[in-house]
């Protein structure tokens, strides 16, 4: 049994005025161990992105507890959270939107190092940044550039580098390979898996694509409309899904195998 790094219980997230609030997450439990890669899968409206943000305390919780490395963090204030932020990071889906267009790559990557006092001076910071860029396969010439001057794949890697820079214990990757070419996606997944192994990183991998999750994750949480409908080891869940929704999701994936009956299979979803 892997040692638990983060454990969340009864997470509730709701928006809006008290009486008519929209519930986005309802009584969600989540657990991840050191070095584990756990997938969170769901369709639109499932709340998976909100869960990722809630775990990192980027979205306020209406209720629930989050224990990170044994410490309760659900109610910590901004100041108290800051030292913890170094240990929990996020990689966003759209690197064009998540990298400040007005900062150079160097500025974007060195700022976190200075904030957390990880680098003693500019020289140390530069060295650390170059090292991390090397790890993700981005040339050092990118440091002078602005985000819009890099290719999409390079931006993606810079996003990953930014998260890895502080050597965190836990990373949430929110739909980071959606919309990538098969080749680029494969490269990104490889990179993540390698990084995770090398750095002992625990990763919550949010995706709508079950196949991707199957490829990289040990365990998976299946979410629907703000709730967890199934959870378990990938092997088990794929071999024998307990929830009919999980079954539906798995069957809906078109494998690259010609099969005329796939289209004709009886679909249980009701139309509105």
């Amino acid at each position: 049994m892997v040692e638990t790094l983060l454990e969340a219980k009864g997470i509730e997230v709701a928006y809006g005025p008290a009486r008519r609030a929209t519930r986005v997450l309802h009584s969600v439990d989540f657990r991840i161990g050191r070095g584990e890669m756990v997938g969170v899968v769901g369709e639109s409206g499932s709340g998976k992105t909100t869960l990722g943000r809630a775990l990192l305390r980027l979205t306020p919780l209406s209720a629930g507890s989050i224990r990170f490395d044994g410490k309760e963090i659900a109610h910590l204030g901004l100041k108290q959270m800051r030292p913890l932020r170094r240990r929990m990071q996020m990689i966003f889906q759209d690197p064009m939107a998540s990298l400040n267009p007005r900062h150079t790559i160097r500025a974007i990557l060195t700022a976190p190092l200075f904030l957390h006092g990880v680098a003693a001076d500019a020289r140390a910071a530069e060295a650390r940044v170059r090292e991390t860029l090397g790890l993700v396969g981005v040339p050092a010439t990118a440091l002078e550039r602005y985000p819009h001057e890099l290719s999409g794949g390079q931006r993606q890697r810079v996003g990953i580098a930014r998260a890895a820079l502080l050597k965190p214990d836990f990373v949430v990757a929110d739909e980071i390979v959606s919309g990538l070419d098969a080749s680029t996606q494969a490269q990104a997944l490889r990179l993540l898996k390698d990084l995770s192994r090398e750095m002992g990183l625990a990763m919550a991998f949010i995706s709508h694509d079950l196949s991707v999750i199957r490829a990289v994750c040990d365990r998976v949480y299946v979410m629907r409309l703000g709730e967890v409908v199934e959870e378990g080891l990938c092997e088990a869940v794929f071999a024998a899904p307990q929830s009919p929704y999980t079954r539906l999701l798995i069957d809906a994936i078109p494998l690259p195998v010609v099969d005329p009956s796939w289209l004709d299979a009886d679909l249980t979803k009701e139309l509105t």
Binding site: L78, R102, H116, H148
Partner: protein, 293 residues
């Protein structure tokens, strides 16, 4: 360009080239620079003393027309004062007032807009309410009131314009700030652990700056017109100092005999405001695509 100096954000190097390459920025900016230089060096550029009356040379037409006198390039008004010299000195008032009042309005409006858009909650409620109430006042009346209370003079005019127009900045900047704050890079900064103040200053402001810069330019155009209106009705600086609005007022009365007394300040006013507007539009075009891409 003076607007460029006001932004604190580091601008991508390629942008400088692109700024000048954009035709609107280059032309309008060049024109305004020329006007600014004329205003600064007015005492040396103006051929005659703008206040000197010479009834012997009254109502002379501009050079090239019959009865024109040498030395009075744009003619004289009915008191014999040189139109060109008055135009040149009028530029001083126009630019001084527009620069200072626009900057003031921009500073106050942007600061409040940034705060309201970023911190939301009670700050936003208070600022928004304030703006609503403020904008309910009829602007012309308010400015007249202010000048009446403070007495005529450059300071009153500047104050009058700034006091009214800050709301324009506030609303636009607030909306833009909200938009920028909702983008992922703001959340990314939060995830890294930066304080709210840092995020507002280092992440949000550089992205809102282009909008502020473009607005400043437009605002300067507006300020020039407002000053002209105020001086037209005699509420601006003392009647001795030449202003374009004042010249227009005087010229209106002698329009049929000496059209040049009205036409030249009107043209100067028109050209200057047009230049400010073009500059603002050009700046927005150049600075925005960098962000939006």
């Amino acid at each position: 360009m003076v607007e460029v100096a006001l932004t604190r954000a580091a601008r991508p190097p390629a942008e400088r080239r692109r700024l000048v390459a954009e035709p609107r920025v280059a032309m309008a900016g060049g024109f305004l620079l020329a006007v600014a230089l004329i205003a600064v060096f007015a005492p040396w550029i103006a051929p005659k003393n703008p206040l000197e009356q010479d009834l012997m040379s009254a109502s002379l037409p501009p050079a090239g027309f019959a009865d024109a006198a040498p030395g009075f390039w744009l003619g004289t008004d009915d008191l014999g004062r040189d139109v060109l010299s008055r135009l040149v000195f009028g530029a001083r008032i126009a630019l001084t007032v527009s620069l200072i009042s626009a900057t003031l309005a921009g500073f106050v409006g942007s600061a409040l807009g940034l705060a309201a858009g970023f911190y939301k909650g009670i700050v936003d409620k208070v600022v928004s309410r304030l703006v609503e109430i403020w904008m309910a006042f009829p602007p012309v009346l308010l400015s007249v009131l202010l000048v009446a209370v403070m007495g005529s003079g450059v300071v009153s005019v500047i104050a009058a314009i700034a006091v009214i127009d800050w709301t324009r900045f506030c609303r636009v900047v607030r909306t833009e700030t909200q938009a920028q704050a909702a983008r992922d890079f703001a959340m990314a900064a939060q995830a890294i652990g930066f304080s709210r103040a840092h995020i507002l200053w280092r992440e949000i402001l550089p992205n809102v700056a282009p909008v502020i810069v473009a607005l400043l330019s437009l605002e300067m155009g507006v300020a020039v017109v407002v000053e002209a209106i105020l001086s037209f009705v005699g509420l601006s600086v003392s009647s001795d100092t030449p202003t374009w609005g004042g010249m227009i007022a005087e010229g209106r009365q002698v329009l049929h005999e000496s059209w040049w007394v009205l036409v030249f300040p009107l043209a100067a006013l028109f050209a200057t405001v047009l230049a400010f507007n073009l500059l603002g539009a050009g700046l927005k075009r150049v600075l925005d695509p960098v962000m939006r891409r």
